[in-house]
């Protein structure tokens, strides 16, 4: 009998590929203490606004240390319902159409577990957030990648969706604006996608975590389009807009029967989200909007800065309409994205993430997060310029 502990690891877990980001993380970790400017992060550089932190402290002082309702505190669900109506134009009943989760990641996992039978096919656009495909595999479903292209500013098109569709597709995962491309869809593009979903009877899981960070034009939620709320799970959270990544708080809204199915999985696995994070989130929704606007204004200026500089340097880069990621092409430098990222790190001490970490359609690009101070961004762009202009080693 083998003594290898790996014999106990489940086959579908063993088969999951290692995250491409992990390799890069280790490479950067080796350069500790070397004045590395990291554009490789996936979170705001702002600390959670003080009034939100203070609300959590106050809650602790009052002894708020218990479990909450499985669905989350009703006060928070009411505030979420109001916020979603005001900002996204969709009405959800706080009593049975909203569930508070441990980050959007948990909400997405709940949805996949609640709605997928083994073998069901789940469509997702790519490049995409690193966990999308693995989380589909973890529920024994089959991922169907739909490419997005630089020529479309990485918006998802109904044509690409139709070309990738195959019998057995049941769910479509959307992440607009998108990590890592910053691409998003305008209303007309979304209407075409919505029509396709109705035609093929697809359930939509719409992760709109970056929606508040939309710089041009209003963000449109697919759930707000006619006939879509009944087939959409709207997923959102506090991490990006309110700079609350470490609090791990998200939520899902949708038809009561579907939220109830997600709730079953949630109650047997997570029970409820942390009460302290929920108290903080309530403050964020009640009095946090001014902070969101302030942060968005700064991200907007930073985006203009890095996109302008990248294009000057010769890294062709579309202007991302949302998120805090730029996704320039490195094709013009004669390097592939992995060599570019590791060369840039070793020679000029700037970390960016190779686009292929976000799926094969990210080849030839790198992700540069601009959630960093102006001063750092200016220096980072100058270093990237030196790297691109230096003769290749």
């Amino acid at each position: 009998m083998s003594n290898d502990p790996k014999r106990w690891v489940a086959g579908h877990v063993a088969a999951l590929p290692k995250s491409g980001i992990r390799d890069f993380f280790e490479l950067v970790a080796k350069m500790k203490g070397q004045d590395v400017i990291s554009l490789g992060v996936g979170e705001p550089d702002f600390v959670t606004p003080w009034n939100i932190r203070e609300a959590a402290i106050f809650a602790l002082e009052r002894g708020k240390t218990y479990y909450t309702s499985n669905l989350g505190m009703i006060e928070l669900r009411r505030a979420i319902s109001t916020y979603v109506t005001e900002h996204f134009g969709v009405d959800y009943r706080p009593e049975d159409q909203v569930i508070v989760t441990v980050g959007v990641s948990e909400a997405l996992d709940l949805a996949l577990r609640a709605f997928c039978n083994p073998g069901d096919k789940v469509m997702f656009h790519q490049p995409c957030y690193v966990s999308y495909h693995p989380s589909i595999s973890l529920v024994h479903a089959q991922g169907v990648a739909v490419p997005t292209y630089a020529k479309d500013n990485f918006a998802l098109t109904a044509e690409a969706l139709r070309a990738a569709w195959q019998p057995g597709c049941k769910v479509l995962m959307l992440n607009l604006p998108c990590n890592p491309t910053g691409g998003t869809c305008d209303r007309v593009q979304l209407e075409a996608i919505a029509a396709f979903c109705r035609e093929k009877d697809l359930l939509v899981l719409s992760d709109e975590i970056y929606s508040e960070l939309t710089f041009e034009g209003a963000h449109t939620s697919i759930a707000s389009l006619p006939g879509m709320a009944e087939r959409t799970i709207f997923l959102h959270g506090f991490s990006k807009a309110f700079a609350m990544t470490g609090w791990r708080l998200g939520y899902a809204c949708g038809p009561a029967a579907l939220i109830d199915a997600m709730m079953k999985v949630h109650q047997y696995t997570m029970l409820c989200a942390s009460i302290i994070a929920q108290e903080a989130a309530l403050e964020a929704l009640t009095r946090g909007w001014d902070s969101v606007l302030k942060m968005r204004e700064q991200y907007h200026r930073r985006r203009d800065l890095v996109v302008r500089r990248f294009n000057e340097i010769g890294l062709k880069c579309h202007s991302p309409r949302g998120s805090f990621y730029a996704f320039p092409s490195v094709a013009g430098t004669g390097r592939n994205e992995k060599d570019f990222a590791s060369g840039l790190l070793l020679e000029q001490k700037v970390a960016v993430v190779p686009g292929s970490a976000f799926g094969e359609n990210g080849v030839g690009h790198v992700r540069a997060c601009f959630a960093t101070s102006y001063e750092q961004l200016i220096v980072a762009c100058d270093r990237i310029e030196r790297f691109v202009q230096a003769p290749q080693k």
Binding site: S19, F25, S38, E43, R301, V353, Y374
Partner: protein, 162 residues
């Protein structure tokens, strides 16, 4: 709004060259914008924000805030007296207030005696000044948006994250 003014309002301490990079201007365009702000009397000057309790030579500086009641004048209200008070070098800031007194005056001096002397000999002897109430500042916790001593925890943000 003047785009350079927007950046100044954010409260960072960017150099002219950095402002140019961020706003997408040339350095000379930024200088023109700054010049225009000065002409429009919006930008009055530059001041560093200092924690002088860390500098022994300057630590002796004494600051006080003085509530001043004055009698308004026909035609000019409080303005003539307020402007007269504000001209003293000891006065750092001077505001007209609603409520229990009229002017709130921030003053600075080399010692407690000097500030007290300013109040008793200059301020309160001006005709029209009805009363003063002086409060000396003991310790500063936050000045113009900067926390003193209790800085934010050093960041522990991961260098690479999904």
């Amino acid at each position: 709004m003047n785009p350079v003014l927007k950046l100044l309002l954010e409260g960072g301490s960017l150099t002219t060259a950095q402002i140019a990079q961020v706003a997408g201007f040339s350095v000379s365009e930024v200088e023109q914008h700054l010049e225009q702000l000065k002409k429009d009397k919006i930008l009055l000057g530059w001041r560093p924000v200092l924690d002088l309790s860390r500098e022994a030579a300057a630590a002796a500086t004494v600051r006080a805030v003085i509530e001043v009641k004055i009698s308004p004048e026909r035609g000019g209200g409080f303005n003539r007296l307020a402007e007269r008070l504000a001209r003293f070098d000891e006065v750092e800031s001077c505001y007209l207030m609603s409520g229990g007194y009229d002017l709130l005056v921030f003053v600075k001096g080399a010692s407690l005696q000097k500030v007290a002397g300013f109040v008793s000999e200059k301020l309160s002897t001006i005709e029209g000044v009805l009363s003063t109430s002086t409060h000396f500042m003991l310790r500063c916790y936050k000045d113009q948006g900067f926390l003193l001593d209790v800085g934010e925890a050093t960041t522990t943000r991961l260098n690479v994250a999904p």
